[in-house]
Symmetry: C2
Subunit: 206 residues, 2 copies
DNA sequence: ATAATATATGACACACTGTCACATGTCAAT
DNA sequence: ATTGACATGTGACAGTGTGTCATATATTAT
């Protein structure tokens, strides 16, 4: 997390700095992006930067997680919309992310995040689900999910299903980015994953 | 790939260099590892390094992929052993990787690979399956898989199943590493994933 | 007005990368 | 054995970056 000093800054200065950072992380992936470029664009001194942030990563993950927050909020609404059908809601959420990747700048930023991803980047993405599973929020969302669809209603398995879904969703974003799939192609691939997961891949007499 | 010059080196010199590299990549993840350290340990000059490799990544992925090759070879045997039961074979392969993570040095090396992974690292891992799906090898392995177990025998879906399985396997290795799970715990988690995938998570009357 | 605290600065030491002109080794042809 | 062509080895160097620190300036509280 950025230091308090950063949050004490005037809104204008803060925005300006974040914009410069976003520019740099759009230009280059985390490990290639340079603080030097960010402070040059933002017009602040090197020393100041270190008053605001621990280091480059600190700023980066602050930005990235902020971007992903929107998705988390969105998901609750989707569950309601689809009468608690987990998979249907997940499919629409994935569609939302794929659309976000259409904006050219946004695309490059996330592409940089996905292609040169670290564990922390993956965590940032999959934490969309954690929110729903770990804390108080769970009760709310847990209720939204219609268990009638599911084979198992055990909490433990439900949590595991979330983990699987998020791994597959993350993988789908990478697949799209790497192979340069269109949104439709990526969506088709994701739907196939979800369909196989729903039905199961083995015959039921085993 | 390393340059020809590297392969022209005497075996002794090559081994020595690879060992120095492995030491460095065990000490630090890719982005923190330094060529400077590698050449100091190996006792070669900076210029020589660039005669052998394009850059740090070139050497790194040569090492990593070599390590993973063994797993690819192993998998064919496992399919035969389990009478073509894809999931059973996959479970034993995952077990093999988890055991590899028991050796302390190996563990640190792979930990560095997993935690600060890039897309290319994930590719290296999941390419274990690509081998079986893309080229001539497919026919061999495709035959080994007992389709009687599966709901769908369409090639396209089989390929997709491989992709899902590899995404979940990769995710499992990260989960183990990050949460510091024991081999048994990790295996249990992976088996649950496989079991859910086999049976499907939705009731069949939908 | 003064002290205390918070913020800003840029020079600096240190580390690393990739390159290049030059040195040395190898080996086939004469 | 000598030559020349080609392969390999070298380390100084320019360029770029990071994180720190002594010092300067601003802000706030008393």
């Amino acid at each position: 997390m950025p230091k308090q000093t950063f949050f004490n800054l005037s809104e204008q200065k803060r925005k300006n700095l974040l914009e410069s950072a976003e520019m740099e992380f759009t230009r280059a992936p985390l490990f290639e992006a340079s603080i030097a470029n960010i402070i040059k664009t933002a017009g602040i001194s090197r020393g100041s930067f270190y008053q605001y942030f621990e280091d480059k990563d600190d700023l980066y993950f602050y930005l990235l997680e902020d971007k992903l927050k929107k998705g988390k909020i969105y998901f609750s609404g989707l569950l309601a919309k689809h009468q608690g059908d987990l998979i249907e809601a997940v499919i629409e959420l994935q569609n939302y992310f794929l659309l976000a990747l259409s904006d050219e700048e946004e695309k490059q930023f996330l592409k940089n995040a996905l292609l040169y991803t670290t564990h922390r980047v993956e965590s940032s993405f999959t934490s969309i689900w954690d929110t729903y599973l770990d804390n108080q929020e769970f009760k709310k969302v847990g209720k939204l999910i219609n268990r009638d669809y599911l084979n198992s209603t055990a909490e433990k398995e439900l949590l595991h299903i979330f983990k699987m879904v998020s791994a597959l969703a993350f993988n789908n974003l990478i697949e799209k980015t790497v192979k340069g799939l269109s949104d439709d192609e990526a969506m088709e691939s994701f739907k196939l994953s979800m369909s196989l997961l729903k039905q199961g891949i083995y015959k039921q007499n085993n």
